[in-house]
Amino acid sequence: MTTANENVVLHVADVHKTFGGLHALSDIDLQIEEGKTHAIIGPNGAGKSTLLNVVVGRLAPTRGAVVFDGQVLTGKQPHEINQVGVARVFQTPEIFPELSVLQNVMAPAFAKRDGAFKLNFLSSLADEKQIREEAEHMLEDIGLIHQKDMHAGSLSRGDKRRMELAMCLMQHPKLLLLDEPTAGMSRHDTNTTIELLKKIKERGMTKVIIEHDMHVVFSLADKISVLAGGRIIAEGTPEEVRNNPKVQEAYLGGAH
């Protein structure tokens, strides 16, 4: 067992997850350093999404624990995990389709400011100028400001994903988890998203990205863990991983 590094913000410690007799995750030990972008790659069925679900509390690990910023996340409710500073972008966008784009982006700011519950039913949304302005800035950043009064449900798929990202960014999370943030996006949208994610990187936000698109991974990641068959088979900088024969065999298939 490695001693915890000073800079480690998320520690997935010796996590196992079995479904029935199936080992979805075995011996996962991940240390994610503060301010870094850590990519988790691997072929389909490698256990990437399971791992993410264990981190955010959707699944309970069979063994092991997830420690974030000195707190054990294992056994906590999703909203509690968010409140300690972990935000998540889903593979298929989870947004509020019936609310306006602006409201979608504003809502997370309330959770950040007011906590998990606040009985503020006599104050008016119109008086929340600060949050509103912040949300509008955010929408300008991601290029959705002109759609701010539309139902979020009527956005294109790519716009929905970017809006979901904006929702997470509104909370200035300590850790941002991204589940294939560019899946299903056009090349153009993908590039815009990469630029956006690079910008966040400059702000020093820690990110964990699960991604298929190697272009995205190699443009963003500081460190890559390769998952196959529920185990981490390699870990290192993009260069190291790219040149690792084990990885090429298991995942890249020598295509590179």
């Binding site: 909203h79 997370p108 008016s124």
Partner: protein, 387 residues
């Protein structure tokens, strides 16, 4: 339609509130041509309006379909009548206790029922309401007076009143510092509460809290992963909604000091759902429109009988006339509920957004809109009820 959405609503809200208040306070005037300007009916307009907007806070905003709301109505009525019996005929303490008691009831029932969602929530609320109804008819008879219903008696203690007023002959009438709560004053008393209730609903709709409730209806998973604990939000909505129902029940007792268990039956809960759907779920005004229409047509349709129909269709040839009368008689008088059921089926099938949705479609047709359809407008927005 205002594209700024919710943010410039404050002024719009104020205008709505002023117009709404005028419409409500002027009911006795503008209902005259409709032949509906008598106090008893107008009291029902106000009371069922309160009930429907309260129900809408729960169903319209969070999407949780309660099939047991009538239980809170009943609790409100019983509490109010007991307050009359024990303390005073002044409606204020009666309403106060009615709202508190129903809120307490809603808290307990909501605490348990909200652990589940979707149809399970509906069935849990239904089960609780049926339990209350059955108990009110059986073991709770000392409190509810069973089938006869809870009534005032001249032997009631009325502790507070007896300190100020001497013995009176006959049964007392609820009175607001001397103003008797029947007839037109009774209506205005209820109307004020309707306006206050409407105002609070407006505030809830325009508040961050209201937005969170809509968020729960729209995507509960996202709410959780955004850091919101949804249970206290839904529970608060449930309790507020129950308190509105309690207030309505209390007002029923104020205008007519009698409380019976049939007010708690699940068909009564169904009627509340019906009003809200007919008018437009999730809209501010829809539930009130629904409640008024149902109460108005209930009044008209139930008063029809064969004689009225024969007069109405007297111009037709005899054979045709009797057939027409026979058919229409199915839908009026005793058959009013058949009409109601049919209308309800049609509305849910073709216009799930209710009358407000229909109104919006028609205005969109005339203003050549349609581009509007894509704009989110938090106030008028119709969303599908959550599962």
């Amino acid at each position: 339609m205002n594209l700024q959405g919710i943010f410039s609503m404050s002024r719009k809200d104020l205008t709505t509130l002023v117009i709404f208040s005028i419409v409500v306070l002027a009911l006795p005037i503008w209902l005259q041509p409709f032949g509906a300007a008598y106090p008893d009916l107008m009291q029902r307009f106000a009371i069922f309006g309160i009930l429907a907007i309260g129900f809408n806070i729960l169903f319209g905003l969070t999407g949780y379909l309660s099939f047991g709301h009538a239980a809170f109505l009943g609790v409100g009525s019983y509490t109010a009548v007991w307050t009359f019996k024990l303390f005073s005929m002044n409606p204020i303490p009666a309403l106060f206790f009615a709202v508190i008691m129903s809120g307490l009831f809603a808290f307990i029932i909501g605490f348990v029922s909200l652990r589940r969602s979707g149809i399970y929530f509906s069935i849990l609320t239904l089960a609780f309401a049926q339990m209350s109804y059955n108990l009110a008819y059986s073991v709770l008879t000392p409190i509810t007076n069973g089938e006869t219903g809870l009534q005032l008696e001249s032997s009631d203690p009325r502790i507070i009143d007896s300190m100020f007023v001497g013995e009176q002959a006959g049964l007392p009438v609820s009175n607001f510092f001397g103003l008797e709560m029947s007839g037109i004053p009774g209506f205005y008393f209820c109307a004020i509460f309707l306006i206050i209730g409407f105002f609070i609903t407006q505030r809830i709709f325009a508040s961050p809290f209201g937005m969170m409730l809509r968020g729960i209806k729209s995507n509960q998973t996202r709410m959780n992963y955004t850091g919101f604990n949804t249970r206290p939000y839904t529970l608060t909505a449930f309790v507020i909604s129950g308190m509105y129902a309690g207030l309505a029940g209390g007002l029923m007792a104020v205008t007519d000091p009698l409380a019976g268990a049939e007010r708690m039956q699940w068909t009564a809960s169904g009627e509340i759902v019906l009003m809200t759907i007919l008018g437009g779920v999730g809209t501010l005004l829809g539930p009130i429109v629904g409640a008024w229409l149902i109460k108005y047509f209930e009044n008209i349709f139930s008063s029809f009988n064969e004689n009225v129909l024969h007069n109405l269709f007297g111009f037709l040839p005899d054979g045709v006339e009797s057939v027409v009368v026979e058919i229409t008689s199915m839908f009026v008088g005793e058959g009013w509920h058949l009409t109601l059921g049919l209308v309800f089926v049609l509305v849910v099938t073709f216009l799930p957004g209710g009358i407000m949705e229909g109104y919006r479609r028609i205005t969109a047709m005339f203003t050549g809109g349609g581009g509007d359809g894509k704009k989110a407008n938090a106030d008028d927005k119709q969303t599908q009820p959550a599962e």
